[in-house]
């Protein structure tokens, strides 16, 4: 005989009325948000890897019997890195294949530029940028295959093998600042495994975001599964009386939630696909994306839709199983779910372990760091509900208004529920708070006005001073040019011979000075503050971007979670709310209590950790002699304000639902 589960589920879903449809729509919406956020994070993760691969050709594997010389150099314009790949065919050797993005190997005097660099060359005066390259009638274009991002500034210059820019002296540079920014090798092709330092850490840091967002998405999915719980409980009772077996009821619930969750997750996936061009405009690291880099592929798409659907289904079924096994316990909430002190002990233990693991001075690999991060995250998940419980008790003790008292008692009654809603923000807030205002990667600003040129010897440096003065004077740059002291290890040249120009004026003057001095010295591009701080600031900048993006996405997820939980609570508690309202309790008191249930842990926990992150970063900046990153701080404040307002709006959105479910006086017989 055919199973009655599917037709009956379909019939009940269709006849569930407006309220049932609302629940299903909300649950589907949550699934859509969850799938969308997950896909975006996975796309950023995979896309970062693809981007990094697209830069590996710039530092190809060396080959002693190679056919060409390849020199990598980095210069800066308007504080943005500009990668210059110089290529020279070795005479008498076989032809070298074309590098990625180019159709042929560049001949001497040819210059190929990325589209973004072409635009900049057009916008800026030649004295600030174009004069750094050989004069050409027209620039060739580097195709997408050779670029990590459409916004990346890259130039490929064809030179003679004897050109100073191709020399070992030019590539060796002056100090550890050159690490990852300058290289030279004899090559026979462009295969290589080492990606650019500007894309190297992107994938690991995007993965950090995925880890931080994974649990909030799980929470969102479980909230979606919980949404129809009250309605399903009633159905369970009615169907059990009608003779349905528990297995049939669970199967019906599973089918219904899987359909709703699946439809929602699919919608989220379609939204992701539709928004790919817009997502590609969001800058990360070296800039925006090529749309194809953010396409995760069908297997990932299907896996995410399946995972979100499964989460919602499992959540819905587990709620039902609780009712099935202990209906009275769930219905009456006989025992408040208290948290124990062991959570605090485990949290402190985990922190101590992390402290000991990271404080030993040894270098930790990415995998170890990720493991420790997950441990830290897990420790917070244990600790969070304990804090919410204590917070509820403390606020409950001192609450003077009914709404605050109700909210505080709710927190103590179900600290895990309250924690789940804000948990994502607590950890993302700390990371964003710390890194958005951090200036640690800027290595101070001691070289801010300096442009330095390395020379082959101290004697050459003395000769170069005059040449540099003349070039700067001709370019209209006001600067004091001196020979760098060889015993000055703290200088921009790190004790290497050369000249240092102290330039007056802003970034335009610095760019002009760099352009004017490019032809001097060993062939290595002039050094600047941006060059010196690149290694640290690249990582710090990426972490700041990832943590702010994670905070923003956490707010999206938390907003959806808070809205869903608020709506689910109204539906679950409609009887008590209805009776309270009949007895004259103002709707605004019930509403304030609902809002404060979320606001209290949000402000205290998420606000607290964000403030802790900012304070910790401020103190470290102070020690390093830097101020805070004002732009990052403004970004953080805007993100927090917009996110908090969105959360309040999401909770407030269930106010009409509360009004409606409590306005019906016919809750009692006739």
């Amino acid at each position: 005989m055919r199973s009655p589960v599917l037709p009956l589920t379909w019939h009940l879903a269709r006849s569930s009325g407006r309220r049932g449809l609302q629940s299903q729509s909300l649950a589907a919406g949550a699934a859509a948000v969850g799938a969308f956020v997950l896909l975006v994070m996975i796309a950023a993760c995979l896309g970062s890897g693809t981007r990094a691969e697209h830069t590996a050709w710039r530092t190809p594997d060396a080959d002693r019997h190679g056919t060409a010389v390849q020199a990598l150099a980095t210069t800066y314009v308007r504080h943005d890195p500009l990668t210059v790949v110089s290529l020279a065919q070795l005479p008498g050797r076989a032809a070298t294949p074309a590098p990625p993005g180019l159709s042929t190997f560049p001949k001497k005097g040819e210059v190929y530029v990325s589209p973004a660099l072409a635009r900049l060359l057009h916008e800026l005066p030649a004295s600030q940028l174009a004069d750094r390259f050989p004069t050409v009638r027209s620039y060739g274009t580097i195709g997408a295959a050779g670029l990590a991002s459409p916004d990346e500034l890259v130039a490929v210059v064809g030179r003679a093998a004897g050109d100073p820019a191709m020399s070992e002296a030019a590539a060796e540079g002056a100090s550890w600042f050159d690490d990852g920014q300058a290289a030279r090798a004899v090559v026979s092709g462009f295969a290589g495994g080492k990606s650019s330092m500007f894309t190297d850490s992107d994938q690991t840091l995007a993965l950090l975001g995925v880890v931080l967002l994974a649990m909030p998405v799980v929470v969102l999915a479980s909230a979606a599964g919980r949404l129809g719980a009250a309605r399903r409980e009633q159905r369970l009772a009615a169907l059990r009386l009608a003779g349905a077996t528990p297995r049939q009821i669970i199967a019906m619930s599973a089918v219904e939630s899987a359909c709703v969750g699946g439809a929602g997750a699919l919608t989220g996936a379609l939204a992701y696909v539709a928004l790919l061009p817009a997502l590609a405009e969001v800058p990360y690291g070296v800039g925006g994306w090529y749309t194809g880099q953010l396409w995760v592929g069908l297997p990932w798409l299907a896996a995410v839709v399946a995972a979100v659907t499964a989460l919602i289904t499992v959540s819905a079924v587990s709620m039902l199983r609780q009712v099935a096994t202990s209906p009275l316990g769930v219905a009456q909430e006989a025992n408040p779910r208290r948290t124990r002190m062991i959570r605090l002990v485990l949290f402190v233990g985990a922190l101590a372990y992390i402290w000991l693991s990271t404080g030993s001075g040894g270098q930790l690999g990415h995998r170890q760091l990720l493991t420790l991060l997950i441990l830290f995250y897990g420790a917070f998940w244990l600790f969070g509900p304990w804090v919410v419980d204590r917070l509820g008790r403390i606020v409950g003790r001192f609450a003077r208004r009914p709404a605050t008292l109700l909210a505080a008692r709710r927190l103590s009654d179900d600290p895990r529920g309250a924690w789940r809603t804000v948990s994502g923000l607590v950890l993302a807030g700390f990371a964003a708070g710390f890194f958005s205002v951090s200036m640690l990667g800027s290595a101070g600003s001691q070289y801010d006005d300096q442009v330095a040129v390395i020379t082959s010897s101290a004697a050459t440096a003395r000769d170069t001073v005059g040449e540099a003065r003349a070039l700067l004077d001709r370019a209209g740059v006001t600067a004091t040019v001196t020979v760098a002291r060889e015993d000055d290890w703290d200088s921009l040249l790190g004790g290497s011979p050369g000249v240092v120009a102290r330039v007056s004026g802003g970034p335009e003057q610095t760019d002009t000075a760099v352009t004017a001095l490019t032809s001097t010295g060993t062939g290595h591009p002039p050094y600047t503050q941006d060059y010196a701080s690149a290694i640290d600031s690249t990582v710090t900048d990426r972490i700041a971007q990832v943590s702010t993006a994670t905070l923003a996405l956490s707010f999206v997820v938390a907003t959806a979670s808070a809205g869903l939980t608020a709506a689910a609570n109204v539906l679950d508690r409609r009887r008590v709310y209805g009776l309270l309202r009949l007895a004259g309790t103002p709707l605004r008191v019930l509403n304030r209590a609902r809002v404060r249930e979320t606001v209290l842990p949000l402000v205290v926990l998420a606000g607290g950790t964000t403030a802790m992150g900012v304070y910790g970063s401020y103190q470290l900046n102070k020690v390093a002699g830097a101020t805070i990153n004002t732009a990052g701080a403004v970004e953080l404040v805007v993100c927090v304000l917009v996110g908090a307002l969105a959360m309040f709006a999401a909770i407030g959105a269930s106010r009409p639902l509360l009004r409606r479910v409590t306005a019906d006086p016919a809750q009692t017989a006739d």
Binding site: L406, D413, L579, A583, G584, P665, T668, A669, D670
Partner: protein, 227 residues
């Protein structure tokens, strides 16, 4: 009888169904009135109309001579909070609040400081046999105990009228008798009137008067002699 609450010519229709069809009813101080009738007879609609929860389509409701059925929603809500008390069948207590805070809640809603409200609420526990249960949550109370907490909450605001809708509907016979005795006696002691909907004749017998409602009309009015 010093009339506290009166309904004159009350008419209420839901679409084509007439729930009340010109009902007249009066309740005096310390008076207790049971409303009985079969399902769909209009007894709950009558209680809701008298309590200002449902607006009548015709007739008027007077509280101490003042017409209340024309009041705005906010004033009606305040009136229910300050001058009426409510006891329902179940589920009226907030599960996360201890019993004493459930009782204190209406007082706090009226602006009474929390300490004072809880102190006042505690006074009800001993007379209602709830001594020692002040910090228990509703889920940790038996059905009878929870109903007594609900009675305490209804009386805490010192209302003019207590409305009870099937207050013993979820209790066993013994507990039901115990609760109804307490409800009627304590309400009377407080000088409040009691209007109660019940389908149980034994419960109704604890009231001074019983109204039988059928098809939206009063079909019988029984006056008991109070011992």
């Amino acid at each position: 009888m010093n009339t506290v609450l009166a309904g004159h010519g009350l008419v209420k229709k839901y679409g084509s169904t007439t729930a009340l069809s010109g009902v007249d009813v009066e309740v005096g101080e310390r008076d207790s009135l049971a409303i009985m009738g079969p399902s769909g007879s209009g007894k709950s609609t009558l209680l809701h109309t008298l309590a200002g929860i449902v607006r009548p389509d015709g007739g008027q409701v007077l509280l101490r001579g003042e017409r209340i059925d024309k009041l705005g929603e906010n004033r009606l809500s305040a009136l229910r909070r300050k001058r009426f008390g409510f006891v329902f069948q179940f589920g009226q207590l907030l599960p996360e609040l201890p019993a004493e805070e459930n009782v204190a809640l209406p007082l706090m809603l009226e602006g009474m400081p929390r300490g004072q409200a809880v102190e006042r609420a505690r006074r009800w526990f001993a007379p209602l046999g709830l001594d020692g249960l002040e910090r228990r949550r509703p889920g940790q109370l038996s059905g009878g105990q929870a109903q007594r907490v609900a009675i305490a909450r209804a009386l805490a605001v010192e209302p003019d009228v207590v409305f009870a809708d099937e207050p013993t509907g979820a209790l066993d016979q013994t507990t039901s008798t115990e609760v109804i005795r307490l409800l009627t006696s304590v309400t009377r002691e407080q000088g409040a009137a009691l209007v109660m909907v019940t389908h149980d004749a034994d419960v109704a017998a604890h009231c001074d008067r019983v109204l039988q409602v059928r098809d939206g009309r009063i079909s019988n009015h029984t006056q008991y002699t109070v011992a």
